[in-house]
């Protein structure tokens, strides 16, 4: 199973909206969003994204089977991890680089489970979370993409990922959006 993970921080909501808006029911892969967020009690992020996205958006649940065609959002206050049976698990091990959820933690976990079937995308953000994860994704053969820092609202995060030398493509949001909407991620062209 292919899987797309998008990591973002400051400026993430706007960037995510643009990236996800063209996703349609034909999407044959799951998309998992790791967005740094405050531990609020309403699922505002999910609601806003759902409003702007044509397919189902939901918060990832513990032990939930990961299914294609759904956008999952990491819950606040936990790290989101991936199990070999393609379910989610959560951890409360404490913040990594001041973040929980941490993009690094999720990417490292996903890299070990999905290997070259993983597409990891780093968008806008003011921290360097994700850079370590991108290295691991690359090591396990996954595809690594960063938003072009020149257009990112907060360029530090994609730039940190790029500085590892492990990012394969640097794209503007429009390009990332095109990529996700492309034939290779829709059911018309599903790969085993």
């Amino acid at each position: 199973m292919k899987i797309i993970i998008i990591g973002c921080s400051a400026g993430g909501l706007q960037a995510l909206s643009q990236v996800l808006e063209r996703l349609s029911v034909g999407l044959s892969v799951p998309v998992v969003v790791i967005q740094h967020r405050a531990n609020e009690h309403v699922n505002l992020l999910e609601e806003v994204l759902q409003h702007r996205c044509g397919i189902k958006v939901k918060q990832a649940d513990e032990k939930e089977k990961i299914r294609p065609g759904i956008v999952y959002v990491a819950p606040p206050g936990y790290h989101l991890l991936f199990e070999n049976d393609h379910t989610f698990s959560l951890s409360s091990d404490g913040p990594v680089k001041h973040s929980m959820p941490s993009i690094d933690v999720s990417l490292e976990s996903a890299a070990m489970v999905f290997g070259k079937a993983l597409v990891a995308i780093i968008l806008t953000g003011a921290s360097d979370d994700g850079a370590t994860g991108i290295r691991t994704v690359r090591k396990y053969g996954g595809l690594t993409i960063a938003q072009d820092p020149a257009e990112a609202q907060f360029p530090h995060m994609p730039q940190s990922a790029i500085d590892t030398g492990c990012v394969r493509f640097i794209l503007p949001l429009a390009g990332i959006s095109n990529l996700l909407a492309a034939r290779r991620f829709t059911s018309a062209h599903e790969e085993k």
Binding site: N39, H41, D61, E62, K63, P75, G77, Y78, L81, F82, E83, N84, S89, L90, S91, S92, D93, G94, V105, E108, S109, M112, V113, G115, K116, K139, Y140, G141
Partner: protein
């Protein structure tokens, strides 16, 4: 192409060694991590290997089997979790509004905080019980598998820097006083008020292998089940069921649920969102 193939077989090889490592730990030391959710354990094992400069899983297994001191360190690393005072404030608010009145009907109230980590939530509970004038009638058994965490819990000393967050949490949880009444600050740390600790018993307990040790009116076990696989979750929920009196309360973490548990029909939801349940006859 060759690179990714190599990576794949490496991952598979690691998987086999990883399972063997957990098996030998269980066999030699009796600590059973085989039914833990793998992703977290793997992460912690890798972390430990990096910190101790151990190159391979095989090498780690050899070291752990012969070096007990290293094994102690390993267990600490593998079982450490963090929390905060009044984590998820609305959970504590819910205890105040929906659970306390029922607890007050018992002459003696026994509470088990299972997997208490470094104790922040135990003291939070004690504060609520104190404010509701129940603390004198309560015995809280706070247990954890991690001895080092228990020691921190027992001391009740926390960083002063955390108090800002904890104070906000306390207010959101319906706190009735000034939060600073509950601690003394000194040299960048705070010491939790001794009177809160009077009725708390801190003790080691391993949820995977140890049995029940009393009957309780309430059990809280928050953000522990997320580390277990479904089978172990079921086993532990059964343990809680057996350890609760009828109409006793069970409080879980915000992202945990009884939904997939085989004991689901033996509990009633007291608060769906805050994951508070009651054992029914």
């Amino acid at each position: 192409m060759a690179v990714s193939l190599e990576n794949r077989s490496m991952a598979e090889f690691e998987q086999k060694e990883f399972r063997e490592l957990l098996e030998s730990i269980r066999h030699v030391y009796g600590y059973d991590f085989t039914n833990y959710a793998e992703a977290s354990v793997k992460r912690r094992v890798l972390h430990f290997m990096q910190a101790q400069h151990v190159e391979s899983l095989d090498g780690l297994a050899k070291i752990l089997v012969r070096d007990e001191r290293m094994f102690e360190l390993f267990i600490q690393e593998l079982s450490v979790t963090v929390t905060e005072m009044f984590r998820d404030p609305l959970f504590f608010k819910c205890l105040r509004s929906k659970v306390i009145k029922r607890l007050a009907t018992y002459p003696v109230i026994r509470i088990w905080v299972a997997g208490c980590a470094t104790g922040e939530e135990v003291y939070s509970l004690a504060i609520i019980l104190k404010e509701e004038n129940l603390l004198e009638r309560v015995i809280i058994y706070a247990t954890d598998i991690n001895q080092k965490s228990l020691e921190i819990a027992r001391q009740g000393i926390y960083p002063l820097a955390s108090m800002k967050t904890y104070t906000t949490n306390y207010i959101k949880a319906g706190g009735k006083r000034s939060f600073s009444e509950y601690y003394q600050a000194k040299y960048g740390s705070v010491l939790i008020d001794k009177t809160l600790r009077q009725n708390i018993v801190f003790a080691p307990h391993n949820l995977t292998t140890d049995n029940s040790f009393n009957e309780f009116q309430m059990i809280t076990c928050r953000n522990v089940l997320i580390y277990f696989n479904q089978q172990l979750q079921d086993q532990v929920i059964s343990l809680f069921y057996d350890s609760l009196c009828t109409f006793g309360f069970l409080g879980l973490g915000n992202k945990e649920s009884l939904l997939f548990s085989e004991k689901k029909d033996f509990f009633e939801e007291v608060d769906r969102r805050e994951k508070v349940f009651m054992k029914i006859p």
